[in-house]
């Protein structure tokens, strides 16, 4: 085993350090955040930092960096208090990654990466038509991470769109059927392959793989 102390990591060339640290949490979720500003101009940005917070109330969090491409997204959320979260499937990885390019504020990433903004049920933030799982999110609260100037935004889940056949009887969603991808580090993409689901863990005996 190689041991890297934080002082050694700090001595790495800047991009190398960023790549390494971004890999440490493991494989990350792959989503596109859709927003529009108060004038109706749309924006789309990739995030790997969506995290489950709770099921009742249904909440999730997203870490946003202010100093990078998604800053237009953050501004739009502050204006409108809503956004959409859209799963990136294997087929959408190249277009999704491309939203991280530094486009000017008046340019819509939807146009530039050739994805289609979609309005659903009068929700005033654009969904990604090509995405197979889309979530309407309402801002609950913004928490400043003063340690590095990032922002942790807490959202309430307002509604969810997905193909009926991915909903299993017990509520679990089969994300393999819609090819939801994952992200590693800054630029690595994976297709998660099923190992299985495990039974509820109880003391005294190991869980088993669920029969499906």
């Amino acid at each position: 085993m190689r041991y890297l102390d934080i002082s050694e990591i700090k001595a790495f060339e800047s991009r190398k350090r960023v790549r390494l640290i971004n890999c440490l949490t493991g494989h990350k979720s792959a989503n596109l955040v859709g927003t529009q500003n108060s004038q109706g101009a749309s924006n789309l940005s990739i995030v790997s930092s969506a995290v489950h917070i709770g099921a009742d109330p249904a909440l999730m969090g997203i870490v946003f960096r202010p100093d990078s491409s998604p800053r237009h997204t953050l501004n739009n959320i502050r204006q409108t208090k809503i956004c959409t979260l859209n799963h990136i499937s294997e087929e959408l990885v190249i277009k999704g990654h491309q939203t991280s390019a530094r486009y000017p504020e008046n340019i819509s990433e939807f146009d530039e990466v050739q994805l289609t903004p979609e309005e659903l049920n009068d929700f005033k933030a654009p969904f990604v038509k090509e995405s197979k799982l889309k979530i309407a999110l309402k801002l609950v609260r913004e928490i400043d991470i003063v340690e590095n100037g990032t922002h942790f935004l807490i959202f309430a889940i307002e509604g969810v769109y997905f193909p009926q056949d991915i909903l299993e009887e017990d509520g679990h969603l089969n994300l393999y059927k819609i090819n939801t991808a994952s992200i590693t580090g800054l630029d690595g993409y994976s297709s998660p392959k099923k190992l299985g689901r495990l039974t509820y863990a109880k003391p005294g005996t190991f869980s088993n793989w669920l029969k499906e």
Copy 2:
């Protein structure tokens, strides 16, 4: 596409709702948090909520639920201000999942799930010997998520252990070589398979897959 409004989801049977909402962020990182209390008794719990916050300073966040098995973990972190984060490889999925069983506080999950606590470089929280990527974390700050009683803990990365051959020249870590798994929902496990790495995204042209 099926549309489920949050009011419909709330009407689901409780466990069904929890399973569904837990799947919405997509595939999640799979880690074990190692702690010990001020008397030296060790604890181990699975988390799918580790999220990258920043590279300089090197920070990550973890959402903890107070009302579930990891509460001993949370108490230990509050006492000692440190913990370890250990990647769950495919081979460790069943043992890792088993740490979510509700063991009494005086029982070490290391013993119960047959994983080996390891002390490294005098860090006073136990690493998982069998894990191939392990991180020493120091608590920076605890943020209360008052909306549902969870806690978002921000940690500074103090040091990292991994096999030398997973470190690529540019700093990216090859997590396929150590079989790092991912989690979906409450109990689904996957093995992420490589799609590839994409070049840095710039306006005007699509990124390409990096030659490796």
